[in-house]
Symmetry: C2
Subunit: 479 residues, 2 copies
């Protein structure tokens, strides 16, 4: 199915930014053709689709993120009249007037249930549960997958990095290596949810209210007669708030120059806030630099480090007692790098979340749907489902995936993960602030069993299927 | 250097989309603090910064992409008055009135030289050369790196995939696994430049004029009584243009159902356009499906394949004569996956391009700048530079990096890569259309020596340093 050439060189965009009035164009073309075929054949039944993840790329848990953008999309789903005309004229004979009118009048009137952002989730658990007309809700697929897959990937990666930093500050330095502008912005948000304290990207600060943070670049030092001149000028401009980058020429000489400035600042009633290491052997250098700073009485001056950091490197540095107070983490955080920098094993950096039909309503009957494959681990769990979680002494014990109205056994104190967000097309959830999401995510990670949280050799968290789910599967497999 | 909490929960964005009126906020905070310190100390000298890449993540060449978005940014660099006020109020004591006025009045009046999009480039070659006031041009760093690193990564990956497909169609199916919405949109553009024929993402079709293409999802089949019903309904809606997905239940049965529909279509004067395989052993299945289609006389019906494809898998399939006519490539294309699916070796999926000062003007003198490190391969080449390339019999022979006004020897026919784009703040280049860029990129790849284009064990392309560049380095190292 090929749309004709949509070329319009004169009116083409140069920025590539999304026009909110046509946000509904963010879909894969097959979603439109399937909707057209549904409309042609009066397939207006109600179905439920699930967003879920089959496999975790790194470690044994995921931190869910991206729901607020998904709900914004569903609330604002729209294709501008001129863009419907564009579709109609560029898609060959694919679309008729009836379908264009359907697009123009589109209004979602179904239900969305979802795990709140910051919830820890596991493979095969529904994270978003959307119920509505079959032809309508397929139009959400690409946007949901794009936004949820990326933000969940980054929130999960950030959680690993923050955990490994054991209470030291972690700052997002990733904008320059993010996959496009949106990745820098959404990635900063997802990382903040999982405990990163701020971002280098000012625009993410503006959009999300995240603290923005910066030090200095090598360029500032190279652009002056000497490193000492550069440090002095910077400290004069920001006496209250200077972090000096000391590795442009020679890190230890840089540390001594920083001490000169630190003492000058002190004479004027200020303290040098910090120095940053950006290359070399961070363990060795941080120890030597700490010694130099301490010998000069700059015991308050902190040491920040950057340079290809990730959870593995940070864990190793802190195990070996590197006196580093904060970490700027860039490329490997913002790309959700599926790469172990100690073992050098690597894979694709993406979260393969999917959006699948699980139930179709026909008259009074709910027909469970299950994608069969030769590999049962790749099958979709059938039916509209809920996830229950039980805790003991402030720790998660196990999860159970149930059919929507099914209650798990009463032996444990089960808590449902999916909560109502949209009902009959109306948003009924008050969205938490980003700070509330962050606190909730911290609680979630805290409650996760320690064995599940290891960087290497993490234990699998127990997720069980309820009796009714197992019965549905049996019925379908043996039909 | 930490900006205070910029939190403003009431006015926060929910979409995360960029506001064009404040596109200038897409920068790392240190670019602002350094500019403030420059302004405070009257450091208004002219410098040159280079965007270039030190190391190619996969293979032995890069296809440059992203320049049009960079130029759009420089032309439209702006921070809205209200956002300057926001900066001023959230950055603690960092900014004063003088600096806010500087931001408000910002106007770039320098020069940009660059290799046109689609140019094949190599490590250490300047790809963009920006000359202007030191404090101004550092504000472009993050945006340039973000846009160029990602699009060049994807144009390069796409070139590898397209080359491996040996003339068969390659289609971008990546939107759902791209790192955010922008990655899907910019990635579709970069992939199109390198020979991908279309994208599944309708919005990329609208924004860039790229053909959009789709088939059907498993959901369409599962949402009906039978696969045959689903195929028939789809073909009724799109008799001229149906590609049927045949692996929902059993691929070979699916192929036979497709034949039933193909013959029904033919009775009505249409041909079944194609079938799609999305799982299983693609080599084995494509051969069996081709046989089934041919036996039923559907020799015109094409076979498309998707499912974790990349250049390695496609190369192997075609070597083994898989009768596949087109490939839908998703995750591994749009994330620039640095992963060899045959050897299972993987690394971080990012292009580590950098933006570094190379020259500073002081009075009449041009002072070359070179970032020293213990590792000479990580040093920045000093001076404002040009790249010359020579060809013989329609093939590139070698490149030479020279000082800006230096001419390489006259023995060869050298051609400069960096062309003027902006002079004195005014754009003087007519931007080529995306189709022209695509044709140019195809020529570039064609002219690259075969040994450089292998998926495994590619030869290094010869890039030499001119006499003057070598002299500058010697002078700096021995000073």
């Amino acid at each position: 199915m090929a749309g004709s050439l949509g070329i319009d060189e004169k009116n083409k965009s140069r920025s590539g930014f999304i026009n909110l009035n046509s946000i509904g164009l963010f879909l894969d073309y097959y979603e439109l053709t399937m909707a057209k075929a549904d409309l042609d054949h009066n397939n207006l039944n109600t179905i439920t689709e699930n967003y879920y993840v089959r496999k975790i790329p790194q470690g044994a848990y995921l931190v869910s993120a991206g729901l607020e953008q998904v709900i914004h999309f569903i609330e604002n789903f729209k294709i501008a009249k001129e863009d419907i005309e564009w579709l109609s004229s560029t898609s060959g004979k694919d679309f008729d007037e009836k379908f264009c009118k359907y697009l123009q009048d589109f209004k979602f009137d179904g239900d969305v249930y979802a795990a709140p952002e910051g919830t820890v989730v596991f493979p095969n658990e529904p994270i978003i549960n959307i119920t509505g007309r079959s032809l309508d809700i397929q139009l959400f697929e690409t946007y949901i997958l794009n936004v949820m897959n990326y933000q969940t990937l980054i929130a999960t990666k950030a959680s690993r990095v923050v955990r490994s930093a054991k209470g030291k500050d972690v700052i997002d330095f990733g904008a320059r290596r993010a996959h496009g502008r949106d990745a820098a912005i959404l990635g900063a948000r997802a990382a903040f949810i999982s405990g990163v304290i701020g971002t280098s990207l000012v625009m993410a600060g503006k959009i999300w209210g995240i603290p923005y943070i910066g030090t200095m670049a090598h360029k500032f030092v190279q652009d002056r007669k000497s490193e000492l001149d550069a440090f002095r000028e910077y400290a004069e401009s920001f006496p209250h708030n200077s972090i000096l980058l000391i590795d442009t020429y020679d890190t230890l000489k840089g540390a001594r120059n920083a001490c000169v400035i630190g003492k000058e600042l002190r004479e004027n009633g200020f303290e040098l806030k910090g120095v940053r290491l950006d290359s070399g052997n961070l363990l060795d250098l941080s120890k030597k630099v700490r010694k130099i700073l301490d010998e000069e009485g700059l015991t308050q001056t902190k040491i920040f480090a950057s340079s290809d950091l990730d959870e593995f490197v940070i864990e190793k540095l802190l195990k070996e007692n590197a006196p580093i107070d904060g970490f700027g983490v860039g490329t490997r955080l913002i790309t959700g790098a599926n790469y172990n920098s100690i073992t050098h094993e690597g894979n694709v950096s993406a979260l393969n979340g999917i959006y699948k039909i699980v139930e179709r309503i026909e008259g009074d009957a709910a027909i469970p749907k299950m994608k069969m494959t030769d590999d049962i681990s790749k099958a979709t769990l059938p039916g509209r489902k809920q996830v229950y979680r039980c805790s003991e002494s402030g720790r998660f014990i196990e999860d159970m995936i149930t059919i929507w109205d099914e209650k798990p056994d009463s032996k444990h104190d089960w808590h449902p993960l999916l909560i109502p967000i949209i009902e009959n097309g109306k948003t009924i959830s008050n969205f938490p602030s980003l700070r509330e999401i962050k606190e909730y995510a911290a609680d979630q990670i805290h409650m996760l069993p320690d064995g599940v949280k290891k960087n290497n050799g993490a234990q699998e968290y127990p997720v069980k299927l309820s009796n009714q789910v197992n019965e549905l599967i049996d019925n379908i497999l043996h039909k």
